[in-house]
Symmetry: C2
């Protein structure tokens, strides 16, 4: 491994095979505002199985009818991964797991004074008995039991150890002393797990970290280094409050920084991230490791140039390893060599003098606080180089009708090299209808996919300027384009057409023409 | 400190005073797609100064005219923080810093073979000379010099140490061996810095980490534990690729987990985060530690209930410490006690039987994949409790026509206590027209002012859910209301009507009536 040269200060006691326990569908779904249907959960479970996780916590069977249904559907699917349901320390919760058909239960009972006193209003002795009873009951009914000690990292050490001993005597197969509020550090995680493993050398431990201080990934890995055999993770690190340890970060760091293999197919990480983000509605920030939009994007001039010479200069992770591709973008920090590379990719070859002019206009736009998209760069190059403007699609007419008693409907008339193309469509609102109408008109020429649609937050009045960004693709080519207008419908249509014109002229059929239908 | 009970496996050599070096305006602004104007940079710099950072890297003076202007404006502002500009190892870059009036330069020269060979195409000896010359030149012109060894963590140890020795001999005041591509781990960061500090006990070191593997915060803290005296951070962790170590996470973890004070006023963290997110356009994901929307939100039933009993159960960080407030939301995981608390806050007091019914309806909505907002909960409670619905204004009909060749026009028909009120208006787009039509209809009853209109950024597709917030006022009364719909026009009208209904029923004429015009 090329990144391990600085050695490791503490010894590494990684398990031979680190198990990945995914809780996207349980702890992840407890993200405020997230609610998945059983069908959506099944879709994510299948993706997790493809990804290669060892265990899937499918939900909390006793919580609602839908949750029960989801666990049942996923358990029936015969996935490779082991299927867990969450349960608290009650017979009803465990019964729901048994009925759901899940093979395994993640049974959670608090171990800290705060939780025992303020949440359960019980004594420590009652907790010991409760854990014992629940585990025995679950085992008697054929369940595999992972016992979770909630808030373990804030518990009295002697009581926690007693609870662990009793739970294993009662039949628990694996024990997760949870860092429920995310207060471990890498050092304390290592010390905590080392201490437990020393006292219980024959027990398999699992680590469950939350990200309240931004250290869930480092803490999880520290516990694995101490010898924990399993790690709880979620896709995109979603979960309550600041979320859980992110599956993608843990798996990639283990592989590249520690040389520890897991069963995860890393090249499927990005598609899993996109699916979870889409179905849960929880956005991934652009500067998120591995799966963020910018994780493999290079703008800054010096960097883009160096990456073109040798990707290793600024890429610790080969993008294809995690199912991604490198992206170069221009911007005010771009150097002239980076701009030249992007232009060349568009099939535009400026000479030195022209490149200088293009370069200085890009900088000027940046200083004004403007983003420079691919289409902006193209327009600048066309002007500087006096190139014919390739705008095959021009908007002639757009009409949209919408309201609460009318299906939002749009018609669009485009001029395509002198020919008129017409499209019409409905949508959930005027923007959706207008964009659908444009796509309807354009697809007669060539199919374009709208991959992403972003509107920057609008502030001020209802007549404020709206900034719409779209990402479009056509087979393997992608572009982003911007539309700016005080009318969100017009801004969206402008962005769409500008991107379509770019894709079709730069990467389209040499001389496409519109055939009357 | 209540979280330190597990002790620390390695010794802590924290500096007496850890310095916070903020690079939001330089490395942060190198985020692809971000471009700030000098005025915006100044605004952020002032906020950083209020926040209490020790140093502000204001930009890269030699990069563009705007960058130069920004550094100059910020340097002139007489902030408490020390003002840095970035420079590469060229006379031109350093001259720009001198001219800008910044007191200090962050001078970066590569130290790794990959960077020296593929980026600069130089030999190691040339690098040593270059560093020496540049540092001397900067010092001769009165600059304080922080010397950054780029890609230091992938450099040959012996060469790196030689470079550091030469840089200090030449006058460098502090040295930052940068983890340019984020490949440190907490253990290797600790070992790396311990080794350097052992060899150079009299040199002040700074740590600069990137988040490619999700460990920038843990790595930064590990370096500080080893004795580094300064840490490079950005607000919200923005920066190239996966970004830099997040200021808010480093500062709060140092304080609460390690008992190390910094000069940061923690209660200003949230407003700084909001400002940077708004001006850069880089979203913060909801599950982001400290500043994410959900970091202090509790939905899940058991949790919300416990938090009501004792916030410590699920809150490692008191929200007010970092300028935030606790938020309880309902959802499919919500317990009945959490729902009751939210309803009581609205002034609604259901009995046990009613609460049970409300509870089961909330669960049903959740199983269907629906978010449950406060207004949804209010509506459910009103139905179950058979409360009179205070909705004097009801939308009967809304029609909007828009397009590129038609003036956006809307008509609206409202039911006001059985009477029909009609309004019509034009606008710059369909939203503006619809809102104007509503105001036109309503003002016949009572004049309502629209003070603010805000749309949360929309991500996903053109059919994504849109969240509109309006602030309305009527003489001296103000309210905010939310509209959520997949159609931005409908979301806007809903928000508007819900706010109007609230203002008119709570603060309106006791029994207002509509007079025919």
């Amino acid at each position: 491994m090329r990144f391990r040269k600085w050695g490791i200060a503490l010894s590494n006691n990684f398990a031979k095979k680190v198990r990945i326990f995914d809780t996207t569908l349980r702890d992840g779904e407890q993200t405020p505002g997230v609610a998945l249907t059983p069908e959506q959960k099944l879709k994510i479970a299948k993706k997790l199985d493809e990804l290669g996780v060892n265990a899937i916590e499918a939900g909390f069977a006793a919580a609602t009818k839908g949750e029960f249904e989801a666990v049942k559907m996923i358990a029936k699917e015969n996935l490779r991964a082991e299927i867990f349901s969450f349960a608290r320390g009650t017979k009803e919760d465990i019964d729901a797991v048994i009925e759901s058909g899940a093979s395994s239960v993640f049974l959670v009972i608090p171990s800290s004074e705060t939780h025992i006193k303020y949440k359960l209003k019980k004594t420590q002795d009652q907790i010991l008995e409760l854990a014992e009873e629940c585990i025995q009951y679950a085992k008697d009914h054929g369940l595999k039991v992972e016992f979770g000690a909630e808030d373990a990292t804030r518990s009295e050490t002697s009581f926690l150890k007693e609870l662990i001993a009793r739970s294993v005597d009662a039949g628990a197969d694996i024990v997760a002393p949870c860092d429920t509020v995310g207060i471990l550090t890498p050092e304390s995680a290592y010390a905590f797990f080392s201490d437990l493993i020393k006292d219980f050398p024959n027990i398999a431990f699992s680590v469950h970290c939350h990200d309240d201080f931004g250290m869930a990934v480092a803490n999880s890995i520290a516990a694995l280094r101490a010898g924990a055999q399993e790690v709880h993770v979620t896709i995109n690190g979603i979960g309550e409050r600041a979320g859980n340890a992110a599956l993608e970060e843990v798996a990639v760091a283990l592989k590249l920084l520690y040389g520890v293999d897991t069963s995860i197919n890393l090249d499927k990480l990005y598609e899993a991230s996109l699916l979870v983000s889409r179905l849960t509605g929880v956005l991934v920030q652009p500067n998120k490791a591995i799966v963020g939009e910018n994780a493999f994007t290079h703008e800054s001039g010096i960097h883009a140039h160096a990456v073109l010479n040798n990707p290793l200069t600024y890429e610790p992770i080969p993008p294809e390893l995690v199912g991604r591709t490198r992206r170069l973008v221009v911007g005010k920090h771009a150097g002239s060599k980076g701009i030249k590379a992007v232009l060349n990719e568009m099939g535009i070859y400026p000479d030195e003098e022209q490149l200088k002019k293009i370069f200085s206009r890009v900088k000027m736009l940046g200083d004004k606080g403007k983003k420079v998209t691919d289409t902006d760069l193209e327009a600048i190059a066309e002007t500087v180089m006096n190139m014919p403007r390739h705008r095959p699609f021009k908007l002639k007419e757009l009409t949209v009708v919408t309201g609460n008693r009318v299906t939002p409907t749009a018609s669009v008339k485009l001029d395509v090299k002198g020919e008129t193309v017409v499209g019409a469509a409905t949508g959930v609102g005027p923007v959706d209808a207008a964009i659908n109408a444009v796509r309807n008109a354009v697809q007669m020429v060539e199919p374009i996919r709208l991959d992403e649609y972003h509107v920057k937050s609008i502030s001020g009045g209802t007549d404020a300027i709206v900034e719409v960004m779209v990402r479009l693709s056509k087979v393997d080519r992608t572009t982003t384009a911007l539309g700016i207008h005080e009318d969100i419908v017009m801004a969206s249509v402008e962005a769409m057409l500008s991107g379509i014109n770019y894709l079709l002229t730069r990467f389209g059929k040499e001389n496409f023409s519109y055939e009357h239908a």
